[in-house]
């Protein structure tokens, strides 16, 4: 058995930022476990620019953004293991991992930071009918093949899903010599950033068909064509609207799912809306000393916010191990603790965190959330029990973009009897 104060599961943007913040906040013994051959996670294959405006005030590509954090991890001499798969984490924080050199080994951690990221939804999750030939890829798999391996997965491409990875891949495939015929989106709005529609589709004359889906896949060996159809408000294909596309490739960019198999295995409570752990103001899960950040917690739109969130998780984990309380103290504190629930109504799907323990409330707390549909000229409102304390006008909000509000300790302190904070969308 090896012993570390903080074990971080995953060396992607979340894990790296958490590690750096934890070290800067006094944690000495930190270990990052990364399953891939290098640190940086999915950023290594996101070779497009647009990262870091918030964090570094300049526009970087994914690998450059990752490199900034990797450099810090190395400078701070934070330990990490590559090619190392975490197989299991027990509820008492024994991490079982495996690699070629050390075989299967166990680590007892005082705190664990979950930063495993997410995976893409597959064709199966959508139950798209048709044949099952070669040539159907999730957009991220295609991205890896093109950007890391240098292989073109297809020459004539249809993309289903207008999430950012799908939009980015429409441009990447075009620039590497493929013909992208169309991007179809089930919803009546795009799930990606507006600027990606401009610079990835409009720039190259690639049409975006909203309220459309794939209803058939042809070709027994390799994709030979797909059929698109328009869908009604319930997402059901409308008969008679079918259009055939001849293509050799279908890319799917139809959503991301936090990878919480390890969290579930250790007994962390999950939020069915985000598919990520339920966390409090410290980004601590239902298991004491187990923190979560980044896409494993909830799917983000911008890596800058992942870094910011992960840094908070890292700081909180460092605080946790540095001021490790005995169970009696914790019990005492629980008794006097004032916990405020965060709830959502009308159009807001979830919040992270979902509760605030007043005692641990930082000076300023970022509450992140997503909306469930496109709302124009609306207000995002925040209520402290019955009293509206925020009423922020927004020309447009959409599910593809994460929203946030900030709460301060000072603000909350004015409401000593506060039980519930509610976020909702209010029409103008």
């Amino acid at each position: 058995m090896k012993y570390y104060d903080i074990v971080i599961i995953g060396g992607g943007p979340a894990g790296l930022a958490a590690a750096v913040a934890a070290r800067k906040n006094g944690a000495e013994s930190i270990l990052i476990l990364e399953r891939d051959k290098e640190l940086g996670g999915i950023l290594n294959q996101c070779i497009h620019n647009g990262f870091g405006l918030h964090t570094f005030q300049e526009e970087l590509t994914g690998p450059e953004y990752a490199a900034r954090f990797i450099t810090q991890v190395k400078e701070l001499q934070i330990e990490y293991r590559l090619h190392t798969m975490v197989m299991d984490i027990s509820s008492d924080k024994i991490v079982t991992a495996m690699n070629r050199e050390e075989g299967m080994f166990q680590i007892q951690a005082k705190a664990v930071i979950l930063a495993m990221g997410c995976r893409e939804r597959s064709r199966g999750a959508l139950n798209i009918p048709g044949y099952r030939p070669a040539g159907i890829f999730s957009a991220g798999t295609a991205q890896r093949l093109v950007n890391i391996e240098g292989y073109l997965p297809g020459r004539k491409v249809v993309i289903l899903g207008s999430g950012d990875i799908g939009l980015i891949m429409a441009r990447r495939m075009t620039l590497e010599g493929a013909e992208v015929q169309v991007v179809a989106e089930l919803m009546p709005y795009s799930g990606g950033l507006k600027r990606n529609i401009v610079q990835c589709l409009d720039d190259f004359g690639i049409p975006l068909k909203l309220s459309h889906t794939v209803v058939d896949i042809k070709g027994k060996e390799r994709v030979e064509g797909i059929t698109l159809a328009e869908v009604d408000e319930k997402g059901k294909p409308i008969p008679g609207t079918e259009e055939e596309y001849e293509c050799d490739t279908l890319l799917l960019s139809v959503g991301l799912i936090p990878e919480n198999e390890l969290s579930r295995g250790m007994g962390v409570d999950l939020n069915p809306i985000t598919s990520g752990p339920k966390v409090n103001e410290s980004l601590e899960t239902s298991l004491e000393g187990v923190f979560a950040c980044g896409n494993v917690l909830h799917v983000h739109d911008l890596v800058d916010f992942v870094s910011e969130e992960a840094a908070a998780a890292g700081r909180n984990a460092a605080d946790y191990i540095c001021h490790h309380k005995t169970s009696d103290e914790i019990q005492d504190r629980c008794l006097q603790q004032n916990t405020i629930q965060l709830s959502t109504e009308n159009g807001i799907r979830y919040t992270v965190p979902s509760e605030i323990r007043m005692e641990y409330m930082p000076e300023e707390l970022t509450v992140r959330f997503r909306v469930g549909g496109v709302y124009k000229n609306c207000y995002i409102s925040c209520y402290f029990d019955g009293e509206r304390i925020l009423h922020r006008r927004r020309p447009v909000v959409a599910p593809g973009e994460m929203e946030q509000i900030k709460l301060t300790r000072e603000q909350l302190a004015k409401y000593p009897l506060l039980e519930k904070i509610t976020l909702k969308i209010e029409e103008a």
Partner: protein, 510 residues
């Protein structure tokens, strides 16, 4: 031209089971398979059930083969090291009025020789399976029912046959079969050469013209699945007809795998032939199939209607199925013969049919192998080999190893410490083993069927580029040649910018 004593057409579960049984004897045996691997047709897309044997009409071959196959499979799974579990099956009766039908099924089972059958009360069923629908009034319980991995079962038969000297020819599609004219056979001058070829003759050896040359055999075993009628009708006056009967399925994530423990069938009733809900030996939940007769023998596509039907009907027998956990769907074609029974007999001299092998074909495969071997033993007075190897060792099962055992393996071969498929936790070592075993994997699907790499919840999103790399390295072929499932199913279509000059004309510029 390669000459064999026996040539088996088709490397599905029937063909390989026959090959394995025949490999006990002093025979030169070949298997001709049009796909690049074993288990690529009906055998790969079915319910993966070992039926107890109460379904088929007493006296039919289906009934006999099913019950015998069920008896044989337990020991066979040990001998050939493939996953099999007797989880028991339940046929639900959801309506008092249907009770006589349940009773009739029970009686059929008794007549077929199914052991340990009993009818359970509503309370007994619900205690055994709390997720069964509340409408249940009684159920037929068959403890001998089981679940199996059809890939591993077929691969086990094939590997063992291979080890016992059987030669497998993949990518070898049989086009025509005729008898070689004996030298003194009367020839009519009006006949063209082609017509002569097709004339049925009772003497002479079989010639099989295939996509990879001509093969010769004294005896042919027709185990061609949905194409069995095609080959039968090539040599026999007495025509048979096989209808491809499509069955569509949904496979659910392992998180749903314990939703039921037994295989749950609905009594054939107002929903027609029922959709089953079953755990798989690997811990997933499988629901299906539909039953639609189609024309196209290659029609293994799923349909919106079919998948909807599976999702709707499954909820009639089991409640709260977490359908959001579906990770993939697939369709298979059952080889339904017009006579509604298996056809296992000598169709013409030295041509043995294994035709119409639909459900319970998987359960029956061991018995069909035994029966065909017995036909040939008697017919040709076959002699047993004294060096027959009856056992086969499957792939290492790391899930069942302790930490120490696993580390021993990793010390021996560090590739066993390198996880490639995150969802199913498959290591590089297992993938290498799958490639280098007898009749090893040549494609992503071949790897998937042997190791489960790519069969998990991400459906190969993360592991396929890495599995492709390993395949290319181990087989020493360029990555462009790696396929999903042989033939023209290449995964990649070139390298970055390679097509550039051709695809982009000046007017396409922005």
């Amino acid at each position: 031209m390669e000459k064999y004593d026996v040539l088996i057409i088709g490397a599905g579960v029937t063909g390989t089971a026959v090959a394995r049984e025949l490999s006990r004897y002093q025979l030169k045996i070949g298997v001709l398979e049009r796909e690049e691997d074993v288990c690529c047709g009906t055998s790969k897309a079915n319910s993966a059930i070992v039926h107890a044997g109460y379904d088929a009409e007493p006296g039919t071959l289906k009934a006999k083969m099913n019950v015998r196959g069920n008896q044989l499979i337990g020991e066979l799974a040990q001998e050939l090291d493939f996953p099999f579990r007797r989880n028991g099956s339940l046929v639900l009766c959801l309506d008092e009025k249907q009770y006589p039908a349940l009773q009739k099924l029970y009686e059929k089972g008794i007549a077929n020789g199914v052991k340990e059958l009993r009818i359970l009360s509503r309370e007994e069923v619900l205690e055994m399976e709390p997720n069964v629908t509340d409408q249940v009034v009684a159920a037929l319980y068959a403890p001998t029912g089981g679940i199996v991995c059809p890939f591993h079962m077929t691969i086990a038969f094939a590997e063992n046959a291979c080890e016992n000297g059987v030669t497998f020819h993949f990518n070898t599609e049989v086009k025509t079969i005729f008898r070689k004219q004996v030298a003194d056979a009367a020839e009519s001058p009006e006949q063209t050469d082609i017509e002569k070829m097709y004339l049925p003759h009772d003497t002479g050896t079989w010639q099989l013209v295939t996509s990879s040359g001509i093969f010769e055999a004294k005896c042919i075993i027709n185990a061609a699945g949905i194409y069995a009628d095609y080959f039968h009708n090539m040599v026999s006056e007495k025509k048979i007809h096989i209808t491809p009967r499509k069955g569509e399925y949904c496979l659910l994530d392992k998180t749903a795998g314990t939703h039921v423990d037994h295989t749950i069938f609905a009594l054939p009733g107002k929903f027609g032939k029922g959709v089953l809900v079953t755990p798989t030996v690997h811990g997933n939940l499988l629901i299906g199939p539909t039953a639609t007769d189609i024309e196209n023998k290659e029609g293994i596509n799923t349909t919106r209607e079919g998948l909807d039907e599976v999702l709707t009907k499954s909820t009639a027998s089991v409640k709260n199925i977490p359908t959001r956990q579906v990770i993939t769907s697939f369709a298979g074609l059952r080889a339904h013969s017009d006579g509604d029974d298996f056809i296992i007999e000598e169709a013409v001299k030295d041509f043995i049919d294994c035709a119409g092998i639909e459900s319970p074909g998987l359960s029956s495969a061991p018995a069909i192998g035994e029966m065909v071997a017995e036909i040939l033993r008697k017919k040709y007075a076959l002699q047993e080999k004294d060096n027959f190897i009856s056992t086969r060792k499957g792939m290492k099962d790391f899930q069942k190893m302790t930490l120490e055992e696993r580390n021993e393996q990793i010390r021996h071969n560090p590739a066993y410490g390198n996880i490639i498929c995150r969802c199913e936790m498959v290591t590089e070592g297992e993938i290498m083993d799958a490639i280098h075993r007898p009749l090893g994997a040549r494609s992503l699907d071949g790897i998937k069927r042997r190791t489960r790499a790519g069969m998990g919840r991400c459906q190969a999103g993360f592991c396929s580029p890495r599995t492709m790399e390993i395949l290319a390295r181990e087989l020493q072929i360029p990555i462009e040649e790696i396929t999903k499932s042989g033939r023209n199913s290449q995964i990649i279509k070139g390298t970055n910018k390679s097509s550039f000059v051709d695809t982009f004309k000046e007017e396409n510029r922005i």
